[in-house]
């Protein structure tokens, strides 16, 4: 039996790009037992606040990638089999202290890293991450946690192929959050920080702190800041261009 070959003429569809490999590394120590040279797929991260358009953009990227012949899988915060339910409950009751909550989130991340992200990459998939370690680190940094401690903790993370940060002004985020949920979220407003007893005030102040921290770590982690105020089409086009160049190596 001969392996199937592409037919000589292909008029009806464009050439499917086979992604080029690139040397990979972890941010720090990594997780034990991983052969980095076997990770053929691509890890694409979309970061941004709630209401910055992350899910819209991810849905469109999935459409586009699958249309272009790439298989995809998605991950996000609080989606692990191991601790997602418990994390949800912990947030509702606000009963865990900082270090504890921080480590709980790291457990959730590690579980998805080892069970979805790394196996997905090994299988040659496009792994789309709806937020990654940066949101987790930034949230903790604005709450005064030690940056060196966080860097060591998240040294288990794989360096993604590309990271987009959808930047939207706090004032605009407020309106999008109201349009979507008719209310502001306790955590997304940073109410636990005691910045203000007024939720609206707290939301604006907290989101400004988070955005500033993202800009600060942008240099270290080298992600692409995307202007999230434009139309979904324009943003999608920019993300596509970025991913295209990742695929072509």
């Amino acid at each position: 039996m001969k392996a199937a070959r592409p037919p000589s003429s292909r008029k009806n569809h464009p050439v499917i790009v086979v992604p080029k490999g690139k040397p990979r590394r972890f941010y720090g120590q990594g997780v034990p037992g991983v052969d980095l040279s076997k990770l053929a797929g691509k890890l694409i991260v979309i970061e941004g606040a709630d209401g910055s358009g992350r899910s819209t953009q991810i849905a469109r990227l999935v459409q586009w990638l699958e249309g272009a012949g790439h298989a995809t899988v998605q991950v996000g915060l609080k989606r692990s089999t191991l601790v997602s339910e418990e994390l949800d409950q912990a947030q509702q009751g606000n009963i865990l202290s900082h270090t504890t909550l921080s480590l709980f989130y790291a457990t959730d991340f590690a579980d998805q890293l080892e069970n979805i992200i790394l196996p997905g990459l090994r299988a040659g998939l496009m792994v789309l991450a709806d937020r990654y370690i940066y949101t987790l680190m930034v949230r903790d940094m604005v709450r005064g946690m030690d940056e060196a401690w966080l860097k060591n903790l998240y040294g288990i993370a794989l360096v993604p192929d590309v990271v987009f940060y959808l930047n939207v002004q706090p004032q605009e985020l407020v309106e999008r959050n109201f349009a979507k949920k008719q209310a502001l979220d306790y955590w997304e407003s940073g109410m636990d920080l005691g910045l203000s007893t007024d939720m609206f005030d707290s939301f604006l102040q907290y989101q400004a702190l988070v955005a500033a921290k993202f800009r600060e770590i942008q240099r270290t982690y080298g992600f692409t800041i995307v202007d999230g105020h434009r139309s979904p089409d324009e943003i999608h086009a920019e993300l596509r261009r970025g991913i295209q160049s990742v695929l072509e190596g």
Binding site: G28, Q29, V31, P32, G33, T81, L82, V83, E85, E86, Q89, A90, I95, L96, S97, H98, T99, T100, S102, L103, F104, A106, T107, A110, D111, E114, D146, W149, N152, L153, G155, I156
Partner: protein
């Protein structure tokens, strides 16, 4: 890497470490009784995880969902919870807090499981060092015998079955405990363990433990405050 005393806490933390079956739990219990009977402010910290962390940990163990990394992180979460909710408030309030195992168990266990030692130590560096650590060093065979003599079945993670050391749980447990012992001995000097000979009679060991505690702690500091009598 400062102790609670060096950080200015009024309380003191005493930890015991050692393999299962090394006799450490018996010794810390007798130490607790001695301090209690003198009427001192003493608290024996039992593993009192909050409901949520416990639920995640037991799910992970029951369904064998844990990798060395998530095993390490979920136990660090559990420890942080206990540290922040229980240990720190007690030490702020000036108690002698007794801990059956502290961060060194995690250092040994996670390293044996293949996690990078610097990563594990980095994670736990939010925790202060105990003011005293007793390490109960018993010959491996004695510890194993105490644990395995007529005992219930070993659990999957307890036997280190996830490490694929052997398909026989008892053999796996032996190898795992042997490696734990090596790790403990390797960190003994770094963390100033007070090494106890666990093969000595209980009373002989307890006498040394009490002498050391009396020498290193000013026990008069832990007399409870009495409210002034009502006029």
């Amino acid at each position: 890497m400062k102790t609670f005393a060096e950080l200015g806490f009024p309380g003191r933390l005493i930890a015991v470490e050692g393999l299962d079956g090394s006799g450490k739990s018996t010794q810390i219990y007798l130490l607790k009784r001695w301090l209690e009977l003198q009427g001192l402010k003493v608290f024996f910290s039992e593993w009192n995880s909050s409901v949520l962390v416990k639920s995640a940990t037991s799910k992970g163990k029951k369904r064998e969902l844990l990798s060395p990394t998530t095993f390490s992180l979920i136990h660090a979460t559990d420890f942080a919870d206990r540290y922040e909710r229980q240990l720190v408030p007690l030490l702020r309030a000036g108690y002698v807090v007794l801990c059956d195992r502290y961060i060194f168990t995690a250092f040994a266990r996670d390293t044996v499981r293949g996690c990078p030692p610097e990563w594990v130590r980095g994670i736990y560096n939010f925790a202060a060092m105990p003011d005293l650590v007793f390490f109960f060093k018993a010959p491996l065979e004695i510890s194993l015998q105490r644990i395995l003599d007529g005992r219930r079945q070993l659990k999957y993670f307890e036997a280190g079955m996830d490490l694929r050391l052997s398909s026989d749980p008892y053999e796996s447990f032996r190898i795992f405990q042997g490696r734990m012992l090596e790790q403990y001995l390797a960190m003994s000097a770094d963390f100033k363990f007070l090494v106890m000979d666990g093969s000595q009679p209980i009373e002989a060991q307890q006498s040394i433990v009490r002498d050391l505690v009396a020498a290193k702690l000013d026990l008069r500091q832990f007399v409870p405050h009495k409210l002034p009598p009502k006029p």
